[in-house]
Structures are given as structure tokens and as C-alpha cells.
């Protein structure tokens, strides 16, 4: 099964999750996802997702000037974002448990 297909459904949740502990600019978020093991995540998909979450009011952003390169726009999780992360996380866990038990039976 293509992981990229699975990712489409959970990328929002993944992005919210990597911003939970620490704010990050676009490339940060991408790197954290990759480090966490999501190698297949597409660059542009992450940036698009960030914009969509931002427009949905789940993230706030602020710009930090950089001396050595282009300035960086940091995203941070706001209250609605945290709530969404909580809810979506719950949904995911339930779903995963269901899937696990399903697969456990099948195996």
C-alpha cells in the first residue's frame, strides 16, 4: 500500500503534531516529519498544508528575520489548533485500534 495515499488523510494531523512542542518554519516542519519517519511526505504538500491550517485558524504565524538568508515565517499552534490536534488524535487512535484489531484477526 502506498504510504503517500495514507498520508493524504493524516498529513494535517502530522503537521499539527510536530508543531505541538515547538514552533517551526516551513522547512522545520518538513524536516521534523522526515526525521519522524515520514520520508514520503512531499515538500510542496507540507507547505500547502501549513497554509490551509493557517487559513483555517488553527495556526498563527510570525516572521523572524534571518541574517544569512531569506527571513523565516514561523508557525505555532494556537488554542483551536490544540483542540483540533486533540480531537483528530482521538479519532486516529480509535481508527488505528480498529484497524489493528481487524488486521490482528486477519493475521
Amino acid at each position: 500500500m502506498e504510504i503517500s495515499q495514507l498520508l493524504k488523510g493524516v498529513l494535517d494531523l502530522a503537521v499539527l503534531a510536530v508543531l505541538r512542542g515547538e514552533d517551526g518554519y516551513g522547512y522545520d516542519v518538513l524536516r521534523r516529519l522526515r526525521v519522524a519517519g515520514l520520508q514520503e511526505v512531499g515538500d510542496a504538500s507540507v507547505y500547502g498544508t501549513l497554509r490551509r491550517l493557517y487559513k483555517a485558524g488553527l495556526l498563527t504565524s510570525y516572521v523572524v528575520p534571518s541574517e544569512e538568508g531569506p527571513h523565516r515565517k514561523y508557525y505555532s499552534l494556537n488554542e483551536p489548533g490544540r483542540r483540533r490536534l486533540e480531537e483528530s488524535g482521538q479519532t486516529w487512535r480509535t481508527f488505528a485500534t480498529t484497524m489493528n484489531s481487524l488486521l490482528g484477526e486477519a493475521a
Binding site: 498529513l11 518554519y25 516551513g26 522547512y27 518538513l30 512531499g42 515538500d43 510542496a44 504538500s45 507540507v46 507547505y47 500547502g48 498544508t49 501549513l50 497554509r51 490551509r52 487559513k55 516572521v63 534571518s66 544569512e68 538568508g69 531569506p70 527571513h71 523565516r72 515565517k73
Partner: protein
């Protein structure tokens, strides 16, 4: 990290940007702000002077990158995605025409309203000549609309936005009120026609040359009554009905303005003068002037029944209002006369002005210095007829005016 030579990044970003060109500028900028640091770092990893191809190898083509951004960011897919270069070009010229037609309509609406307003305020034909400047623009717009229809115009981004705004405005409003206005629509077209005809007739009354204009006004009146109800079926008629409506609105506003002006003048005239005086008979200082019939009266002299001049009298009208006028005095330094106040004490000193030379000769050939002199004396005497005694209350006006044979040279001068 090296940003010394960011050309590859720039090229790549520029292509992404153009692939997102249909999105709002600010949003595209936000997206690129996220992407830019990433590309800068990637460029640094790729070493000195990386080629755009190297970036493409890592990230895919800018166009597919943009497509991925759209898909994940919830942006609409690119319009006319299959279009090649020529198709894009064609679409552009098409947009140019549509754009002209739309903004031509907007421009014409403004022009018609403005010149209609001007013509109505002045009740003159001349401002309507200004429409000759608007007409060609409207004509070209109409030609486009007739040939191509309104679909390309409806797809213009500015029109889409405008319609969205209008749509949300309508939703916000109580739909009952809106429906009421809808029922008024047919009446509006009739009103338009009526205003056009009345306005045309008014202009003809004012200026017979406007007779040439009357057929045009009648034509417009007929056109608007015909086009109005068909608007829904054929949107192209907007290019006929809307400018005419704008003209009518403009001229109604102008007409209202002119009427208010007229009424204000009338009531002012009746209020501050005892009727019959033409309105606006004020001097440079805004003070009313005295007049006798249609002639300006600069000074008033009074004599008693013995023919003795009265040198200090105060004039009032029938309501006890002082008949104050501007009082002038000499400005010694310049030899000019100047205002020193206003009051109702008469007679005023005569103010003589002229030129004089060094020897004090006045109004001679060598005069160069202007002088000004105030004379308090009465410049003439009056013979009051003893033989025709008139009833006392009526005596004053006829005697002071009919009997004023100037025995002493000059009438009062400034």
C-alpha cells in the same frame, strides 16, 4: 549557507509564482515565503552555482510543485490547465476586449451621470456635449458585447468578485425589502422615460437649439422602456439600460439641486428685501446695497420742510430693521477708499478721489499721486415746494426725490 548567487532559486520560484498567478497576490507571497528558506538551504547543499535543473531534479518541475501546493493547500486547480502558450495568449486578448467592454460600461455610467447632472444643474445643453467623449467608449463596448456576448465579461476576475460582493450584500439584506425594490423595477423604466422627456422639453424651453436633442431624448426614453423589462433575458441590454439610468439619476439629482437653489434664492429675496428687488444685490463686502427701482443708490440726503439739510439721520424699513450699508472712509496713505464698517446713518460723507501733483494741484495733467478726501457737506440744496402741501406721512418720499434740482453742480460721487 550561501545566498550570494540565488539565481537558480529565483528562476524556480518565479516559475512557481507564474504557475500560481491566478491566486491572490498576497496569498502567493505567503506561500513563497514558506518555500523560499527551504530552497535557499537546498541551493546551499547543492554547492556553488547550482543549475535550475538540479533543483528540478530534487523537487520536480515548478509547475508540478505548484500543482502539489494547490492540491494540499485547498486552492482551486489552475484554470485552463491544458492550455498551451497560444491558448493563453488568445485568452488574454479575449480578456482585454471583455475588460474594455466592462470598464467602458463603468466609465460611461460615470460620464452619463456626471454630464446629466451638470446639464440639469445648469439647465443648459452644453454639458451634454461632453457625452461626445463618452459615446465612443460606450460604442466600442457595445460593439464588443453585441459580437461576443456577456459570457467573457462575466468571467472577468473583477466582475466575479463584484458579483460575489453583490451576492453577499443581497444575502445580508432582508430579502423582503429587496423584493419590494424588484417590484418597482418596471416603474423605474417608465420613470426614466418620463424624466428624459421632461428634461428634454425643459432644455428646449431654455434653448431652442436643443430641439435637435429632443429626438435623441425621446429615442432614449423609448429604448429604456423597451430594454428594461428584457434585461433578464438578454444581459447585453445592460449596456443600454444602465448608462441611460445613470443619466436619469444624474439629471434628477442635478434637477433637485437646481430646484433647491432656485427656492433658496426666492425665499432669500423675499425675506431680506421688501419684494421686487433682484436677489443678490450685495456689494463686495456682502452688505446689501440701497436701490431705487433698478438703480443703485449710494447716498441718501434728507431735508426738513424748510429745506434745511439734515446731516444725521438713521434709516429703517417698515419692520424696524436698520438699512445698513457699507461705510467707506479714506485711506490717507494710499489715497484709496476702504471699508470702515456698516451702519444706517446717512448721509454718508462724499469721498472724492483723484490724482494730484507736488504742488497740490488736483486732477491736473501732472498729477501722479492719488488722493482721497472726505466731504461732509451736502452737495446740493433742495427747494421744498410750499404750495403743494402733501399729507404728512406721504410727504417724505416724493419730496426728497421729485424735488431735487441740483443747484450746486455735481451729484454725489464716490
Amino acid at each position: 549557507m550561501s545566498t550570494q548567487n540565488p539565481t537558480a532559486v529565483r528562476v524556480y520560484l518565479a516559475r512557481v509564482r507564474s504557475a500560481l498567478a491566478d491566486l491572490p497576490e498576497s496569498e502567493v507571497e505567503e506561500i513563497l515565503e514558506d518555500v523560499r528558506p527551504h530552497l535557499a538551504e537546498m541551493e546551499a547543499e547543492l554547492g556553488e552555482n547550482p543549475k535550475v535543473d538540479a533543483l528540478i531534479e530534487r523537487l520536480g518541475s515548478p509547475e508540478s510543485y505548484a500543482a502539489e501546493l494547490r492540491a494540499s493547500g485547498g486552492y482551486p486547480p489552475r484554470p485552463a490547465d491544458a492550455g498551451d502558450q497560444t491558448a493563453v495568449l488568445k485568452a488574454r486578448t479575449g480578456i482585454g476586449g471583455a475588460r474594455f467592454a466592462f470598464w467602458g460600461l463603468v466609465f460611461s455610467v460615470g460620464g452619463f451621470a456626471l454630464f446629466g447632472f451638470a446639464a440639469a444643474v445648469l439647465v443648459r445643453v452644453e454639458p451634454l456635449l461632453g457625452l461626445l467623449f463618452v459615446a465612443p467608449v460606450l460604442a466600442i463596448s457595445v460593439a464588443y458585447v453585441v459580437r461576443k456576448g456577456v459570457v467573457p465579461i462575466a468571467e472577468l476576475p473583477e466582475v466575479v468578485k463584484f458579483r460575489e460582493m453583490a451576492g453577499s450584500f443581497q444575502k445580508d439584506r432582508d430579502s423582503k425589502g429587496l423584493n419590494y425594490f424588484r417590484t418597482l423595477k418596471p416603474a423605474w423604466w417608465v420613470l426614466c422615460a418620463a424624466v428624459l422627456v421632461v428634461f428634454g422639453l425643459l432644455l428646449v424651453l431654455r434653448d431652442t437649439e436643443a430641439v435637435l436633442l429632443l429626438p435623441l431624448m425621446l429615442l432614449a426614453a423609448v429604448a429604456v422602456v423597451w430594454a428594461g423589462p428584457r434585461l433578464k433575458a438578454d444581459r447585453r441590454l445592460l449596456w443600454l439600460a444602465v448608462p441611460i439610468s445613470a443619466f436619469v439619476v444624474g439629471s434628477m439629482l442635478g434637477g433637485a439641486g437646481a430646484a433647491v437653489d432656485l427656492i433658496a434664492k426666492r425665499s432669500y429675496g423675499n425675506g431680506s428685501y421688501t419684494g421686487g428687488y433682484p436677489p443678490g444685490y450685495n456689494d463686495n463686502y456682502g452688505n446689501p446695497q440701497l436701490s431705487y427701482g433698478s438703480q443703485e443708490v449710494e447716498n441718501v440726503y434728507a431735508f426738513d420742510s424748510e429745506g434745511k439739510p439734515l446731516t444725521e439721520i438713521y434709516l429703517y424699513d417698515e419692520d424696524g430693521r436698520p438699512l445698513s450699508t457699507t461705510r467707506y472712509a479714506c485711506e490717507k496713505s494710499t489715497g484709496e477708499r476702504r471699508k470702515v464698517g456698516e451702519d444706517n446713518r446717512y448721509p454718508r460723507p462724499q469721498i472724492e478721489r483723484g490724482v494730484q501733483d507736488n504742488d497740490g494741484h488736483r486732477d491736473g495733467y501732472n498729477g501722479y499721486r492719488s488722493y482721497c478726501q472726505e466731504k461732509a457737506d451736502v452737495p446740493f440744496s433742495a427747494a421744498i415746494p410750499k404750495g403743494a402741501p402733501v399729507p404728512t406721512s406721504q410727504a417724505a418720499p416724493p419730496s426728497s426725490t421729485s424735488v431735487a434740482p441740483p443747484s450746486n453742480s455735481t451729484p454725489p460721487t464716490r
